[in-house]
Amino acid sequence: MSLPMILLALAVLGTVSFILSRKRAIASVGGDARRLHSLPTYYGMHGLLMAMIPAAGLLVAWLVIQPLMLERSIAADFPESAIPEGSTIGLVMSDVRRVADALDRVADQGALAGRSLEELEAVIADGGTAMGADLSDALLTAANDYRAARGSLNMIMLVAVFAVGLIGAAWAWKRSEGEFRARNVVETGVLILLVAAASIAILTTLGIVLSMLFETMNFFQQYDWKRFFLSATWDPSFSGRGGGSELGIIPLLWGTLYISLIALIVSVPIGLFAAIYLSEYAGKKFRSIAKPLIEILAGIPTIVYGLFALITVGPMLRDAIASPLGLGSSASSVMTAGLVMGIMLIPFVSSLSDDIINAVPQAMRDGSLGLGATQSETIKQVIIPAALPGIVGAVLLAASRAIGETMIVVLGAGAAAKLDLNPFEAMTTVTVKIVSQLTGDTDFASPETLVAFALGLTLFVITLGLNVLALYIVRKYREQYE
């Protein structure tokens, strides 16, 4: 029974439970709904929730825990000698899982019995399953054990889930009588669901941190952390050729910061001046046209900016500046990515600054103008200083955006890790390397793949730090005028 079918069956059970509980409640007071404690619908809802929620909870928990337990027990039985050289039990287990899945698919067509290893291998390959190692007897036995255990466990799960659902429904049905406070129970249940939904934000953060922390620790077991943070070369060798990778984060960080710096140099003045003009000078009509136009820039997906960098800005910069001056011959460069990223950040800076400038009390403007200052003097000497903390916060948020941006740099900055000052040279960033180390064939036992998690964690920590700092500054500043 597939997962959607189980959910559908649970929904049917819930509906039946709804109808029955409601009926019983009304019958218990002789058909006079006024004598019930709650509205009849609440008795029905109570039946529905009792039938579905515990069963669904059990289902989810089971689906999370079962693969873990199953894999552990199969892995424990797997003969040590059958693990191929250079492989680990984790890799073998993922092969076991793949073989089991492939066999499941073939078994549906009833073509399994009595085949040799080679034939089976061909069948599995036909099914579109790529394997890490050759099919061995031990692997096949493990896969078959896995399938058998999974089949019976799935059966037990099905029975358990529906048993829980039926017990819940029966319990609710029995309780549905005139005196029962169905509304209070249902409302408590709904509140619990609301709290659960709100907790997903915490779970997501926890998931992000734990998943990256776990793999990063794996990485640092294989690769010295001092070399990772202090080495100035990034030169991963591809797995299979043995070790000898140099995985230093410094050139990547340098590229990231250099590109972000250029992006900020472009976007902060333009965004800030645009915000000042739109909020202090522009007429209503001009503002109502120009503001949405600039904000369109914020709604354009980053892949579009990436393509813009790749086909327009990059070649243009190369032909107009870099080649004539002899600074470089590459269309993808720090300058390309920085400029385009700057364009992307203009609306971000301008709308944040706009909010902040508007939050400066009108009385301060009036006071300055009343003393005879011109408008620009008011802006420069009164409004900007008053709004400065907020603007700094906005710049920090923009910097965090720039550091975490991926598609523009993947398409515009190049892939060569370099420590160079020439902005027309192709360099690379942390995000580009995360993408390149984690796409394609990945082997989760090699440091070349695992380094991506360490890079991701570094990125997460940097952007988180910037965000927290920015939010702190903005919040503190806002309180000043409230």
């Binding site: 997903i200 776990f214 354009i300 997906p301 579009v304 011109t374 991926t406």
Partner: protein, 446 residues
């Protein structure tokens, strides 16, 4: 302030004539205003440049050059058994069909009196390799056609297509190993005989991706389906969860540590780089939970987590804007707090919630980076099945397909990528216009 205290003699100031200091200040004022205007103009100019660059590169992707030829389908080659059973006929591979197209082209040339010095093979290079597979599929679907001579509209090869879009010229053909000036001459002759046409490219929206050497056949079919599935998942998960979380935080949550923790988490998640969500998806949904790679379900889940903060922030603002008097009135009539929220506040906040949801969906639709990490860059030619099983089939997504196109060397793929961006931007435009319409039409000011 210094101006007010500056010593200006009584006789020196004039209302009509500016003194040098006032002139200087006014000039500074004007300059400052100009900087502001210039900044706004630069912003708008960048937008215009971006859009024109994409449009000028991409519009031609919506047009496609095709060649009309007559193809004979001989029985002895395609169906020796004569049973017209597609399963038996499928034994004839595309290698069996390629000569048919070549001969068909020669015959068409003869019928129309077009002379060429090109060998039959070189002439056949005008036709896209993809057309052979198309012809085979068509014949397998219609076995009764065997033995007849049928008119077939085949795709012109990428270079010939490029010639009619200005990408390939006689000069560039001299240097190009894939096309010769003689072939261009032949194409012109075919055009003169009204056999070669350029028409609207419907296949661009329906066809799956094509191999690196066949840009003319590449389409967005699988990508559009994949993106649609993911949006479906995001809508079904992010909307209820986001609304439930916002209701709790806005209406019920007590002021305590736990609530603070949730709030801090939501505002941080909104600013986490999108690629980090991709790492999360890879580590948790694929490696830990064992969901398949490249599947819309994983993409949908990752995008749901990314969209949640946007929806929560919009929903909370919308709930906050419902005046407390509504709640008070409901409570005063004996409604429970839950009833007041679900029966009165929530319906009034609905337009704002929907607007926020659509904007969140639009963001998710354009997101690329996390999808790269969960394997959606794979080359997928098979259409995924219908939901719910199709959610677990491999698929690509629109932005990822664009990225894929950009990674190929043939310049024709730049056109395809830009065309795909136009499609993506059109979808985004429609979604944003819907959001604006909803806001204008239903939003209430209290």
């Amino acid at each position: 302030m210094t101006d007010a205290t500056a010593p200006i003699g009584a006789g020196q100031g004039s209302l009509i004539q500016q003194d040098s200091r006032t002139a200087k200040r006014n000039a500074a004022e004007k300059r400052f205003k100009m900087y502001g205007l210039a900044a706004v103009c630069v912003g708008i100019a960048m937008l215009i440049m971006l859009v024109t660059s994409i449009l000028s590169n991409g519009v031609s992707a919506f047009f496609q050059t095709t060649i009309q030829i007559m193809v004979e389908l001989p029985e002895e080659k395609l169906d020796k058994s004569g049973v017209r059973d597609p399963e038996v006929m499928a034994k004839v591979t595309t290698f069996g069909y390629a000569p048919l197209l070549r001969d068909g082209l020669q015959k068409t040339l003869e019928d129309n009196g077009i002379e060429t010095e090109l060998s039959a093979k070189d002439a056949a290079d005008l036709i896209s390799d993809e057309s052979v597979a198309q012809l085979r599929r068509y014949v397998l679907a219609n076995p009764e056609l065997i033995g007849q001579t049928i008119p077939v509209e085949v795709l012109a090869s990428g270079r010939i297509d490029g010639f009619y879009k200005g990408r390939v010229t006689y000069e560039s053909a001299e240097l190009d190993s894939n096309v010769s000036p003689e072939q261009l001459d032949l194409a012109e002759a075919l055009k003169g005989a009204d056999l070669l046409k350029t028409g609207f490219n419907w296949r661009f929206f329906t066809a799956p991706d094509a191999s690196v050497t066949r840009p003319e056949a590449a389409g967005l079919g699988v990508a559009i389906i994949g993106s649609f599935y993911m949006m479906l998942i995001v809508l079904c998960l992010a909307l209820p969860i986001g609304v439930a979380a916002s209701i709790y935080l806005e209406e019920f949550a007590p002021q305590n540590r736990f609530t603070d923790l949730i709030e801090v988490n939501i505002s941080n998640l909104a600013a986490v780089p999108s690629i980090v969500f991709g790492i999360l998806g890879l580590a948790i949904f694929i490696n830990f939970a064992g969901l398949p790679q490249s599947a819309p379900i994983v993409g949908g889940l990752v995008l749901t987590l990314m969209t949640l903060p946007t929806i929560i922030i919009a929903t909370r603002a919308s709930l906050k804007s419902v005046p407390p008097s509504i709640r008070d009135a409901a409570l005063g009539l004996g409604a429970s707090k839950m009833q007041a929220v679900f029966h009165h506040v929530l319906p009034l906040a609905m337009p704002g919630i929907l607007t926020g949801t659509i904007i969140g969906l639009a963001q998710a639709l354009g997101e690329t980076a996390p999808l790269l990490l969960i394997g959606m860059v794979a080359f997928v030619r098979e259409y995924p099945a219908g939901p719910p099983e199709g959610l677990f089939d491999p698929a690509t997504a629109l932005p990822v397909q664009i990225f894929n196109f950009t990674q190929r060397s043939d310049p024709a793929f730049v056109e395809r990528a830009s065309g795909a961006i136009i499609v993506l931007l059109l979808f985004l435009l429609i979604m944003n216009l819907t959001a604006i319409f909803l806001r204008r039409r239903f939003e209430r000011r209290w």
